[in-house]
């Protein structure tokens, strides 16, 4: 909680945490929290028995099939909300009723209007809201920001960011049915803009300050009800930088390769996130693993998910939230930040809709 009641509800030395939803990303949060000093995972909730069983195997003492029951029965300080977006508002409302701070998976909500209602509820209940925008915690993004702040390429008139993956439909070979909610605009709030673009908006404002959306276009490569590709033209007045953002859920992804590209084109050269990633993923992972093993013997804390930088970023984001809650401070990426990224995505979607409509209108031929 943001107030001085940070002794928290439990009165325990450890921060008592619940995880609502332990699908893919929820399990990452669960494993992160279980490895976090000063954090105790009391319970998780998930509607799927196989997810609950997986959480039990990970050492969670109590599981529920319904997050409302978990929030009613467990004495928590904070809850991770890793549910589909259409459940975020309800989960925040119930956490607020229980006086439990929340760390919400992105997007914070399906719309700014829904986010406003959630943040009003949180404000009235005095609970803190953090949002899982992880790009800021990735070492490559931190490296880019450091170079940019040091002025290593001078003025940056142009920047570009691209984030691509294969979204819910995946690539061959197919082993599991894809979830339906990410392709349902009512459930997810949108497509790639809310799934991937929202991370990019967050990291761009972190780098360049307040952004203006100037134009956008969206597309669907299949007959699906949400966009799976979006391109946005942005302007950062403070740094006088024009920026293009492209995000898409159409490209087959082969982990550990992750297609996130950020380039800052400056007067004297280019800052690229690729220069801040291991040239060979496996060699970098092996080095991280070795470092962690050595730390174990010197008594230092290991880097959690050390060999995998993108999972490590999730750990760092949740850790920073928990630390803020423990210290009674505002979460480093809070509800207003989450709402702001949502606002930029929403503006882009509106502009794209105008563009798409204009393209469909027949051209009037005059003599």
């Amino acid at each position: 909680m943001l107030s001085s009641t940070i002794g928290r509800l439990t009165g325990s030395d450890d921060l008592a945490l619940g995880v609502l939803g332990v699908g893919n990303i929820g399990m990452v949060h669960l494993k992160s929290a279980r490895s976090m000093p000063g954090v105790e995972v009391r319970a998780v909730a998930d509607v799927l028995p196989e997810n609950r069983a997986r959480a039990e195997r990970a050492g969670v003492p109590q599981t529920y099939d319904d997050y409302t029951t978990l929030l009613e029965r467990e004495n928590l300080d904070a809850a991770v909300i890793a549910l589909p977006p259409f459940l975020h508002a309800d989960a925040v409302e119930r956490a607020a009723a229980a006086g439990v701070d929340v760390f919400v998976e992105k997007p914070l909500a399906r719309s700014t209007a829904e986010a406003d209602r959630m943040l009003d509820t949180a404000r009235e209940a005095g609970i803190a809201v953090g949002v899982d925008h992880t790009l800021r915690y990735q070492p490559d993004m931190i490296g880019v920001k450091s170079e940019f702040e040091d002025g290593t390429v001078g003025h940056v008139p142009y920047a570009s960011i691209t984030r691509l993956n294969d979204g819910p439909l995946g690539r061959p070979p197919v082993e599991n049915a894809p979830p339906s909610w990410p392709l349902d605009p009512d459930a997810a709030g949108g497509g790639s803009l809310l799934e991937l673009g929202i991370h990019c908006f967050d990291v761009l404002e972190w780098l360049f300050g307040e952004l203006e959306v100037q134009d956008a276009s969206t597309d669907s490569t299949l007959d699906i009800p949400v966009e799976d590709a979006a391109t946005v033209l942005l302007r950062a007045p403070e740094t006088e930088t024009s920026i293009t953002l492209h995000c898409g859920s159409y490209q087959w992804e082969q982990l550990p390769e992750v297609n996130t590209r950020l380039r800052l084109e400056g007067i004297t050269g280019t800052i690229s996130n690729q220069d801040h990633l291991p040239q060979n993923f496996y060699a970098g992972a092996a080095k991280s693993a070795l470092t962690n093993v050595l730390r174990r013997f010197t008594g230092d804390e290991p880097d959690v998910f050390g060999p995998t930088f993108y999972l490590q970023a999730h750990y760092e984001a949740l850790s920073a939230f928990c630390e803020a809650i423990r210290e009674g401070e505002r979460p480093p990426i809070d509800g207003e930040d989450g709402r702001r990224s949502l606002e930029l995505a929403e503006t882009a979607a509106e502009l794209a809709a105008e563009t798409n409509t204009a393209e469909l209108e027949p051209v009037e031929v005059t003599r």
């Binding site: 893919n24 399990m27 990452v28 494993k31 992160s32 279980r34 490895s35 997986r54 195997r57 439909l169 690539r171 061959p172 070979p173 197919v174 082993e175 599991n176 049915a177 894809p178 339906s180 490569t221 299949l222 007959d223 699906i224 159409y250 087959w252 082969q254 982990l255 693993a289 962690n292 093993v293 730390r295 174990r296 290991p302 880097d303 959690v304 998910f305 050390g306 060999p307 995998t308 999972l311 750990y315």
Partner: protein, 341 residues
């Protein structure tokens, strides 16, 4: 009707195209109209005489983008529907089957089949055994000196069926082919290859049109070709393009894979020799050019396989878990052993 040992090969005119893929459905339909007619040729005339119903069975197993070659391009299906609707009053249908991984309704919707079918008034049907059209008939066929019992949808036995596979490998590295496309509709206890062969014998498709407009080897390749003929013979051609030949069990087990059809005896270690007759634009170009295109296609596909599974190799998972135990780190969920701790 198809001649028993000849595959007709047609090329799609790509002179007006930029890049390997044309995103607009209407443009693809337009480009495919002639080559589809040329490839199916006499088959179109003979099936058009069928009084009742003609069902098209494409490779629509999952909503992969058609530009990958991992599914039949819906535009090829649309072009076939167009040809049939011009020639016959028979009812037309496009059939698929739901699996545990994906309901056919979602696959069809994402690939744009509802709109495509609406253009020609064709029905879109899911022949999953628990569906409304799922009545099946059980038959027994001798395959590889064994009796293989298969249950296939009655509808596919009764209808005139055109099977339209894509040119891609399966998860197991075999050619997806027409027989395996039909095999997905079959219920049997036998292994997939004999099941596919028996299902094909039960359904007796009128012809097979192989969509090689985009093929998938280790990557997509815009081959801009179509091949039509008897289903096992077209599959034998597909297997020979991938370099698997008679190592593909379904091809080796097919009753049409005889020496008189394939030029070599199954089990001889040689690759089946399928005679491809160029038709349409492929015929008007020099034979050498068409042969060269086939050679290029073979070179692009030989040994081709699907991407590796997301599942990490067990050895890597074990090594990571050992590291995590020693280094005090967490194991990423993706590296957890299935069903294990």
């Amino acid at each position: 009707m198809d001649q028993p040992n000849i595959v007709r090969g047609a090329l799609v005119d790509t002179d007006d195209h930029r890049g390997g893929w044309t995103p607009t459905l209407d443009a693809r339909l337009s480009a495919l109209e002639s080559p589809v007619g040329e490839a199916l040729g006499p088959v179109l005339e003979s099936v058009a005489d069928e009084p009742d119903r003609i069902t098209i069975v494409p490779d629509a197993h999952y909503p992969f983008h058609p530009s990958t070659g991992m599914v039949t391009d819906p535009a090829v299906v649309g072009a076939v529907l167009d040809h049939l609707s011009w020639r016959t009053d028979a009812d037309l249908a496009v059939a698929g089957v739901s699996t545990e991984c994906m309901p056919f309704e979602r696959t069809a919707e994402y690939l744009g089949y509802p709109d495509l079918c609406e253009r020609t008034g064709a029905d879109l049907v899911d022949l999953a055994s628990d569906g409304d059209d799922g009545d099946t008939t059980r038959q027994v066929f001798p395959v590889d000196d064994r009796s293989v019992a298969v249950s296939v949808p009655e509808r596919l036995r009764e209808d005139t069926v055109l099977v339209l596979p894509s040119l891609r490998p399966t998860d197991e590295g075999a050619v997806a082919g027409g027989m395996r496309t039909l095999g997905r509709f079959a219920d049997a206890v036998a292994e997939p290859a004999p099941t596919a062969v028996a299902a094909t014998r039960a359904i007796e498709p009128a012809s097979c049109l192989l969509d090689a407009t985009t093929a998938y080897g280790d990557e997509p390749y815009a081959a801009n070709a179509l091949f039509a003929g008897p289903t096992p013979v077209v599959d034998a051609l597909g297997a020979s393009l991938f370099g698997t030949g008679f190592d593909d069990r379904a091809v080796a087990l097919a009753p049409d894979a005889t020496e008189s059809v394939t030029g070599v005896e199954p089990g001889s270690g040689s690759t089946p020799q399928i005679r491809v007759e160029p038709v349409g634009r492929a015929a008007t170009e020099s034979t050498d050019d068409f042969e060269a295109q086939l050679d290029t296609l073979r070179a692009r596909l030989e040994g081709g396989a699907l991407p590796p599974s997301d599942d990490t190799h067990p050895a890597v998972s074990i090594a990571y878990r050992l590291y995590a135990a020693v280094g005090g780190d967490a194991v990423p969920p993706q590296l957890e052993l299935r069903g294990g701790g």
